[in-house]
Symmetry: C2
């Protein structure tokens, strides 16, 4: 299959204009988050964040790397799972676990590294918790021959040594955060030399490190340009479904910051938005899945809140549990984020998206069923989507109706087997 | 690409007939290993072990499952590695890491489970050390809805919990060996309740367990029928190379029992054997790679020896370090076997195969280089092949000559990152 050569941008098709990012009240007395953002991101990404062009060309150099990392990823049918559930539903999944770093994160890491390189930037920083995003940026940096420095939350650094190893194999410099390498890190360590770290602290260190040299900062989710890059998933899936004469009735993806959900869903949802702005007329269902432990839709508010725990980035209008929300220590680290991408929030508010919530244990059980049926072990995040898919397939069975389900298999769980062991007692 | 629908059997093309398996001298006073083997294997495999038909049809039901596990696996070109080495060589690899269990082992696990099921067998047992083989048989059993019991060497059971978890996710019953579940295990535990176990003990337990019920025993390497099944790798690679107009000058694979080497190499080598029995006239080079720590070719003898450490299986004529050889604790567990498949031994003896030996550290360094260049982390076993490929590519550079290299990427190293950490200090 030919790779799509443009990303899809949902902004011009939204039923209402998106509320813009803003500085918090009183920012003039401290500093402008918007100006900070303009300094730490490549200029091209700032443009992509705001553009209302529906189609954004993918540079040839990025397409080339997309091919090298195995794009298009396979569209697979979970026939054995269907059989096990004895359902009339047909279950398809887009297998993002097939990329070398094992998740969809690489789809945006590659263009972020490319644009930075193109603008003469000399290196990239980011923060990472569970490690998926840091791994993706580490490889993207290696592919464009650019140094990458990852500030890894100290507790994760020690609890997840394998993630650290893979980033270092890719040549990245991985530093436990808080560190002595930034003023902010030093300050934290002076107050508490044994500080276990947090994503907010690691992000502050990464941004400070980038600002002090000709480096830029990599963003793993939430922002419009990240969802734009991830649209490659849905665009490929649309072509692949067409090739086999299928069209999904229901699309499913888990939601952390929203990049794997937006990536799969927006190209399909956008097709409908181009015909009608009335959600009652939509033909397909768009299902986002969140952990019950992080109920940002059912218990969160739709309001302006900081995009990050540290309050260094601008405020976004989104469904949020508050940027100081401390999520319970569920293993699906990628779903612990307090908010969700503004475009997804708006579409939920307007009735285009429905949300299903599940608890950790039932999600791991769903993952076990999937692994036994299909042989592929899903990441804890992906298990949430799978749990919803199973429930939808059983609903189709009860109603005895055909249903074509397409879900985003956002990542494999080979580095998360210890989590299965803990939750399922294996 | 259409999947090949026949496996290739090199037996009829060998320059000399293969010496048959035999019982040890004095076996009549104890028991016949050959008769034991006939009891614990499905009948169809016994037939495949001895047949001199060149092409053996792959059952439709096996082809179907081969497709489900992602066959044909991708043929990839390591362009970034070529660039990094600044070599005129073109480096291709057959990516067996793309299967759900992450290595080539599933290629033989599937037909072994299929034939057992077809013959009305009710379950499968095997032993596993590092866990690759146990994982593959666990999934194959799940796919044919047959229980699988894996006796896992007790020390590995505790040192490699992730492997245990993945086998259990596939529904297998994983028992640390020595166990209380067999007479042999009980006897060992009576002598030493803290016995760390060994592959020989685990194998004895697996065979005893199968013999006592209507179950059969799964074999991971060495035997002719295993290499037959693995020929799917080379047959696919041959088609894939033809499609892009290439023909390899050198084929490379690591050698443990020999199944990934035979799998890739035999279809190519067999083509030449059908034209000449004179190794001086061969067009391609066939390179096997072994650890310096297990020098079965350079320091081993070519003679009859037990196939297994416990002396339960028949003796085979092969290059061997002696079945009581204790390999150093290198991380490439799949390469620690004392002998090598008889057909590979014969071809080495006759001058068709050359052997390269490398030490653990330089192999992990090669794996690091590959991971950084290509994004894919190789298993410790595969690193041996990669080290040889790098040396061959540098040889091509020195001589400034074109060289088309094809190697077998036998498995990914995502469950072996701890080994990289230990060896490279990451």
């Amino acid at each position: 299959m030919e790779l799509p050569n443009k990303w899809y941008n949902i902004l011009p098709d939204l039923p209402k204009p998106l509320a813009p990012p803003r500085d918090p009240e009183g920012a003039e007395e401290e500093f402008s988050r918007i100006e900070l953002l303009l300094k730490v991101l490549p200029q091209k990404l700032i443009w992509q964040e705001n553009t209302v062009e529906r189609w954004v060309p993918i540079p040839d150099e990025v397409l080339e790397v997309y091919k090298e990392i195995g794009r298009p990823t396979p569209l697979m049918r979970a026939r054995r799972l269907e059989k096990l559930l004895d359902t009339p539903a047909r279950i398809y999944f887009k297998y993002e676990g097939a990329t070398p770093t094992g998740s969809h994160k690489i789809n945006t890491a590659v263009p972020q590294a490319y644009y930075a390189k193109e603008e003469g930037v000399e290196g990239l920083t980011t923060e990472t918790g569970a490690g998926q995003w840091g791994t993706a940026l580490a490889l993207a940096g290696a592919m464009y021959d650019m140094p990458v420095k990852v500030f890894m939350v100290r507790s994760s650094y020690h609890q997840k040594p394998y993630r650290r190893v893979i980033m270092r194999l890719y040549g990245a410099d991985v530093t436990p955060s808080p560190s002595e390498e930034t003023e902010f890190g030093k300050k934290v360590l002076r107050e508490n030399p044994d500080h276990p770290g947090s994503l907010g602290i690691a992000m502050s260190e990464a941004i400070e490190y980038a600002l002090k040299r000709n480096w830029r900062y990599g963003v793993g989710s939430v922002m419009n340009f990240v969802l734009l890059h991830q649209s490659i998933i849905g665009l490929e899936a649309m072509k692949q479904m067409e090739e086999i004469g299928e069209d999904p009735d229901v699309l499913v993806a888990c939601i952390g910051g929203g990049s794997n959900f937006g990536g799969l869903v927006f190209p399909f949802l956008g097709q409908e938005l181009q015909k009608t702005k009335d959600p009652k007329k939509k033909r397909r269902r768009y299902v986002g899945v969140t952990p019950s432990e992080v109920p940002k839709f059912s218990k969160g508010k739709y309001e302006y809140d900081f995009a990050d725990a540290a309050g260094l980035l601008p405020q976004l209008k989104m469904h949020t549990l508050g940027h100081e929300f401390t999520p319970p220590p569920i293993y699906a680290g990628g779903l612990r984020y307090h908010g969700v991408a503004p475009a997804i929030s708006l579409l939920y508010e307007e009735g285009w998206i429905e949300i299903m919530e599940y608890e950790q244990k039932e999600c791991f059980e769903a993952g076990r069923l999937f692994a036994k049926a299909e042989g592929i072990v899903p990441a804890p995040e992906t298990n949430h989507a799978i749990k919803a898919v199973i429930d939808l397939a059983l609903e189709a069975k009860r109603k005895n109706e055909e249903m074509v389900i397409l879900f985003n298999f956002s990542g494999h769980g080979l580095l998360d087997l210890g989590n299965y062991q803990s939750v399922l007692g294996l």
